[in-house]
């Protein structure tokens, strides 16, 4: 109750900085329950402070523990929120099902809202001069060459290029493509640049 359980959540977040773990619904529920227990104890003791003045210090200690639990819960959520944000920029607006199941429903809700907010912003870019928006998630790496050679590591089916040509992205095929059009597929791990 004095921060031990909640620290396990925090340590879990710290251990796996590069990935997202399953949302720990159970532990969060338990911590919130503990907070209610602490709160009730405090309400009882606060009412008895008129008889026993030294109980007031005990109430203060429990209050510190309540604040600590609250802080840790919020930090855990906030830390995951930032990782989920990265998912939008790396996986795109549609998450693969095995990634989606790592998020709680509330988190997925936040992800959708984040995606919508981002889309609205991107669409507004250049609207005063007749542009229909820029996709910021496309141009994340500095361009070095116009064309690059890539290897397809998993089947992706037909892919249409900007000039109208259609290519078949089958596993283990090699292609020579415009760098700007491959960026997203490389980021998603479907294509690999051959150096």
């Amino acid at each position: 109750m004095f921060g031990e359980k909640v620290i396990e959540l925090i340590k879990e977040a710290e251990r796996n900085r590069g990935t997202l773990d399953q949302f720990n619904d159970e532990t969060i529920r338990q911590i919130i329950e503990e907070m209610h227990v602490l709160f009730k104890l405090n309400m009882n003791d606060a009412n008895s402070t008129t008889e026993n003045k030294s109980l007031w210090t005990t109430v203060q200690v429990r209050h510190s523990a309540l604040e600590r639990n609250k802080r840790c819960l919020l930090a855990y959520l906030y830390n995951r929120m930032n990782k989920i944000k990265t998912l939008r920029w790396e996986f795109g607006s549609v998450l693969p099902p095995d990634v989606r199941e790592l998020l709680s429903d509330g988190e997925y809700d936040w992800f959708s809202k984040y995606s919508t907010n981002l889309a609205t912003y991107m669409r507004s870019l250049g609207e005063d001069i007749g542009y229909h928006g820029i996709d910021l998630t496309e141009n994340l790496r500095p361009p070095k060459s116009l064309y690059i050679e890539v290897l397809c590591v998993s089947d992706h089916g037909k892919f249409e290029l900007e000039d109208g040509d259609v290519i078949m992205l089958k596993k283990n095929t090699r292609h020579f493509l415009p760098a700007s059009e491959c960026q997203t597929l490389i980021r998603k791990g479907i294509l690999q640049q051959i150096v």
Binding site: F2, G3, I7, I10, K11, A13, E14, G18, T19, L20, D45, N52, S54, L55, T57, T58, Q60, V61, S64, A65, E67, R68, R71, C72, L74, A75, Y78, N79, K83, T86, L87, W89, E90, F91, D98, V99, R141, P142, K144, S145, I148, A179, C182, Q183, I186, R187, K188, G189, Q192, Q193, V195
Partner: protein, 192 residues
Amino acid sequence: MANYLSITDILVTNEKVPCKFLHDLPKMGFMDPSATEDDLKAGTNVEIPIWLAESLHARRPPLVSVELPKIYKETYREILNADACTVDMHKLGQYFYELGCYIAKYDIKGEVATTLIDTFKQRFRMILSASVSTDSITALQPLSTSERDRTAGAVVTEKALSGWLKRGDCPLTTATMVANHRKRKRAEMEML
């Protein structure tokens, strides 16, 4: 650094410091592992996490007085001032610097602060000169958490720079979280 939502700060403030309770605390006897009663008596010495110590110290009147943990006391300070580079920082304190910043507030003489700055300077020079080659890095004395992060950052930068100098371009790569996610899935599949 010390912001409310920082995971690192939460872990740092979880570290324990020796304190003396200045008042009776009914029903809080569980905080002292050697206590036999339900109530905590004034004058008891207990090690509590610094988040609790700060909170109780800040009350008016203060409920605890905070003492320096032994790694920030004179004996250890002398070792660090002599040669901080040979110290196993991982063993001494994972969050040596960060915790030290909190502790320094309770050191009226300001000697902890001086030692922290000095230790940091000594070890920073050591880490910086080692980060140019992978051999030197592995030969370093064990590091604290923040030192490890900084070293990893230096290694990445060094690699990127030499890659850029040699090749003149940066190949596009799979996004970090995507790659990590796949690695974990593969590892999980192998365990089944």
